[in-house]
């Protein structure tokens, strides 16, 4: 704002405006309309219509003109700015009660639109900055809106083809059989959790670490026969817990 001093020689005009001089009122309004723009500056990049905010800001400025009191001992602008902001605040709070989720949904569709458009224009996947610039919003807001929403899939009716499965993690790790084995191992883990500590230790060492009954017996300070008995009982329990699935051959 170039001319702060243009707000200063207002006293006389103000007085006349307050005494009902419409022309003076208009003049003082025009001289200070810059204050509204100063305030609106801060709302750039938000979802609000600048025009709406200007209307409301004007109401604030006119109120300030009518209510300014010279005994305040402050400059008119110092008094008017909070009035303008206050009026805008009231408007924002009365006007919308948009739930966060809905707001993001609207933004989300815009993002998808911009993404498609830029992909076409650039011939490659646009980056977040480019989408943000296209929509004139913060790039962070794009990330947050993406978190909050998702479009229904397959809008373009693409059926996920078999070839898409190629890069799958478990594919790389193992075959389909293995996927099932992994799940069975999970079932086994669950069942193992239901054994008591000693049973579990015996099973783990016997079948997963290939230790002999006598080594385990020595470690635990019991006889080999006892280990054999614990093992048998534990296997019985596991079998019933796991149903028909036979994992331990």
């Amino acid at each position: 704002m170039s001319s702060t001093h243009s707000y200063q020689d207002n006293d006389e005009l103000l007085l006349r405006a307050q005494q009902g001089d419409e022309e003076a009122r208009e003049q003082i309004y025009q001289a200070n309309v810059g204050l509204i723009y100063m305030v609106l500056e801060r709302f750039r990049g938000t979802s609000y219509e600048q025009e709406d905010l200007f209307q409301v800001g004007s109401i604030g400025l006119l109120k300030a003109i009518d209510k300014f009191d010279f005994s305040f001992k402050v400059r008119f602008s110092t008094y008017a700015v909070p009035m303008i902001i206050g009026e805008i605040k009231k408007f924002l709070r009365d006007d919308g009660m948009v739930k966060v989720q809905r707001g993001y949904k609207e933004l989300y569709s815009k993002i998808r639109w911009a993404q498609d458009k830029l992909r076409g224009d650039l011939g490659r996947e646009p980056n977040v900055n480019e989408i943000a610039a296209c929509l004139e919003i913060d790039k962070e807001e794009i990330v947050l809106a993406m978190e909050a929403c998702q479009s229904p899939a397959y809008i373009d009716d693409v059926i996920p083809g078999e070839e898409k499965n190629q890069g799958s993690l478990l594919d790389r790790l193992a075959s389909e059989e293995n996927t099932v084995r992994i799940l069975e191992q999970m079932a086994l883990r669950e069942a193992l959790g239901k054994l008591d500590d000693r049973e579990r230790e015996v099973i783990l060492r016997r079948f997963f670490k290939d230790e002999t009954q006598s080594v385990i017996a020595q470690d635990l300070g019991v006889s080999q026969v006892q280990i054999s008995r614990i093992e048998k009982g534990a296997l019985q329990k596991l079998k019933s817990l796991l149903g028909e699935q036979t994992i331990i051959e």
Binding site: V74, T78, L92, V143
Partner: protein, 148 residues
Amino acid sequence: MNVKNYVRLEFSSLPENVSFARSCVGAFASQLDCTLEDIEEIKLVVSEAVSNSIIHGYNNDPSQTIEVVVSILENNSLEIIIKDYGRGIENIDQAMEPTYSSDPSRMGLGFTFMRSFMDEMDVVSEPGKGTSVRLLRCFPSQDHRAMA
């Protein structure tokens, strides 16, 4: 007042972190039962305070650090503290005056925005040591709103 949830952010005093900080605080605040307008207002005030720390506190030196602590208090109010270890403010009352700015190219509206949109604002500052701005915003719980 007990804290239900909090986050503490610390980041370089780079201009690109202003938009990061406001979005981040906005995202955290959205845990509360509030509207999109509330979030926009909160983002606005965080923007003002963080910009002040970068511009006035650190004189645009990007190697400094800004801290933001956001807490959701037990009564569902949101407390935001923005702190720098920069130049500090000599005359806080004057600084808070609408349209006062130590920089003739600026408008001096930052503090006015913070005070207008938040329910409480406290500024603690020591020249040469730094500035801490505490902002509080209350959110009536859903039940209260329904009754109103």
